[in-house]
Symmetry: C2
Subunit: 137 residues, 2 copies
């Protein structure tokens, strides 16, 4: 498993995109995709030789990240690519890692399954399959 991207919560998507472009030179890589179940908008941003990032904006007050965004947002999760999500979740389970949500289609990943776990020590982890890439523009 290697890190695919860093998930970063923002209050306002357009301001977040401008912020990452202006300060760090990151470019928008995908369209903004809405996840209606998680009630978030997400967008991927990239820069050559630098870690891929994903900006996440809540779409309403019932979004799981709404409270975090209200506090200002910031670093939220790390997403790891794994060979098989189900196998990885089973392995995590034997190690006492808590699954936050069952695997479900990730709109930003061509509706392939993603999963979220709480990996102890304050770490929210997202899992995607190794061969998946974010939908590009």
């Amino acid at each position: 498993m290697i890190i695919d991207h860093i998930g970063i919560v923002v209050k306002d998507m357009q301001k977040g995109i401008e912020h990452w472009n202006d300060l760090f030179g990151y470019k928008q890589m995908t369209e903004i995709v809405e996840n209606t179940r998680q009630k978030v908008n997400v967008v991927f941003m990239h820069k050559d030789n630098s870690q891929l990032i994903k900006l996440i904006e809540p779409t309403d007050e019932t979004s799981p990240i709404y409270a975090f965004s209200k506090k200002g947002g910031g670093l939220h999760h790390l997403c790891f690519k794994c060979d098989d999500i189900s196998t990885q979740l089973s392995e995590f389970k034997t190690k006492g890692i808590r699954t936050l949500a069952q695997p479900e289609p990730g709109e930003a990943f061509d509706n392939e399954n993603i999963a979220f776990v709480y990996a102890k020590q304050g770490l929210n982890i997202e899992l995607i399959d190794t061969d998946k890439k974010a939908n590009i523009l």
Copy 2:
């Protein structure tokens, strides 16, 4: 500027090292280095083709990261490599970015200067010079 590493706060360094090794296959890359001014211990961990990470443990209750570690720890900052810290700080200043600490020797970087800024939108950012690498074992 590209991301050099992800800074992650842990309550207990040995448990953090074991956690990242056991769950994600990361290996300890450096010795544990104490920063007496910031009152933290830091260690770098790596995995082929995956983003470098740095674990940070407070050494006492007056450490700036103590409260965060007590709440469980987790993702804390992103460190960017830049061509020249002073130039980058000046540029950030014109954009209203707040410097959290003046450039000071980073023990884990051969005592070359590092700097911390608060880049708005909840982001703590560390800066190091491009040619610097963490002291290795």
